[in-house]
Symmetry: C2
Subunit: 336 residues, 2 copies
Amino acid sequence: MIVQWKKHVTRAALVLAFCISSNGYAAEDPLPSWNDGPTKQSILDYVTRVTKEGGPDYVEPKDRLATFDNDGTLWIEQPMYNQFVFAIDEVRKQANQHPEWKIKEPFKSVLAGDMKAVAAMGDKGMVEIVAATHSGMTTVDFDTTVRQWLATAKHPRFKVLYTDLVYQPMFELLNYLRANGFKTFIVSGGGVEFMRGFADKTYGIPSEQVIGSSGVTKYGTWDEKPVLIKEPKVLFIDDGPGKPEGINHFIGRQPIFAFGNSDGDKEMLEWTAACEHLCFMGLVHHTDAVREYAYDRDSSVGKLDKALDEATAKGWTVVDMKNDWKAIFPSVKAAQ
Amino acid sequence: MIVQWKKHVTRAALVLAFCISSNGYAAEDPLPSWNDGPTKQSILDYVTRVTKEGGPDYVEPKDRLATFDNDGTLWIEQPMYNQFVFAIDEVRKQANQHPEWKIKEPFKSVLAGDMKAVAAMGDKGMVEIVAATHSGMTTVDFDTTVRQWLATAKHPRFKVLYTDLVYQPMFELLNYLRANGFKTFIVSGGGVEFMRGFADKTYGIPSEQVIGSSGVTKYGTWDEKPVLIKEPKVLFIDDGPGKPEGINHFIGRQPIFAFGNSDGDKEMLEWTAACEHLCFMGLVHHTDAVREYAYDRDSSVGKLDKALDEATAKGWTVVDMKNDWKAIFPSVKAAQ
């Protein structure tokens, strides 16, 4: 843990040193993986305006809250949500302890490797798989399992760890915002305890700034040691209207900057657009089938339809991944 | 809001300037309202040990999380919880819009001024009163109502605003911890949106570091403007075992320092005691009937019984308010 933290501090320090010149002004390009153009310029202009003391759009540092969706916004979400891949792997790993799964759907299809049948069961099947694999253990044991998986499991196409498939341009954006006094949060439909397993090390976002879907936990003692047991009961779904609800629940204030990539982010962006300051709303549009994936209105994962129309109508920033991003991932250039 | 923030920054800067001498070492007394003795010394020793780089008990700044109960730990809670006084005042204010309350308990007794009858209804009555007065409006309107009440309502005995009845020694402790790299959180059974109405201005704790009991909110639009409506439905009770559950839900990591004052804090302190580092557990024992109140095992508000026994058995720090605190409140010396 200490080693991981030191690594993170070192990386953050390097980025900071790169972004900020010795006189305290931003260097010429804090977003080197973004191609020059209106998308990049809209970000730079926004940050310049809200941080200019005495300017008409100045926002006090304490109100500079930025919220980011995770799947498809900060890291890859195709061909299926990474957390769901983890859950599938857990079903296989735990199968011996659950003989009943051999005859019970959706587990039966998972164990038979019939992912088409699993997909056909839709959200209901997915929720059952996640509930079964994300409960019945302590929060500490779950965290250990997540970290082990993240340290070993590889993406089927890019053949690297999932945490190597974060978007380098978004990583630079997170650092750029923090260097300008923003507090950065994740606000995602993903499970909060799954994301906390990598958010600090990967994005520099501490656990208390990670908001996600949550299950009920129950406090008790095991061998006289206090523990929290994860129960198979949903407390809160952080998606769609659940995103502004979750932001209110966890943060208690409106962000002034929000980034998403799908219809599940629509309400978060609308709520941010109603903030009292100059607000920034952004969407990542996956347009690059060669270097990543191209999908929007018809995708079952990360569907982007209504939010894209709204962004166009209201002039929100839409990232055209293919044309706006010089690089996609930090370390998989060879595979692209 | 900006004015309040500036005031807060100025106050924080003054405290910081007081605590830290020019060479970066702590000045002689960062806790001037604490009498010298073992209680004060236990705090000073703890902070010195966990912040000593290279020492055996050193804790990285990122892991220096401190959680504080609010009612009875940071501010007054007698003769009844301040939030409940607010709720009672709201019943009276809203009575005209609710003619049915004239014949419906517990509202009937509240409107008749029969607080004995209200008290006899116990928690059930209190929950009904809070639910009725804390729902059916937007989060913004509720926040405005709370702030108006806090700016005008006065404590029956001390005749000052409730926010003037925070404990000066605990205020100094919060500042002392922050000056030593701690991140301070409130973890209270009180309503999260009620506390967020004053926690920033009063304690220097931003809304995202306030954890409390929460109701369900629902996102929607009013006149095409996005709003969150407070519903009369409990999402989460942050008391007793709910405190470690809430800390896990909101923060995702164990604190290393926790302070409470009642049996409702027992599980939070036990969970903190199981932290991986050198941990600090503290209780405020209300022993001063002259300057504040004296109560513990038999009190209906802030009952301190089992947690006091456990603190004694395990050697946790117990503040004897009468003997350990030089001053209680920052600005009501005349009334004491």
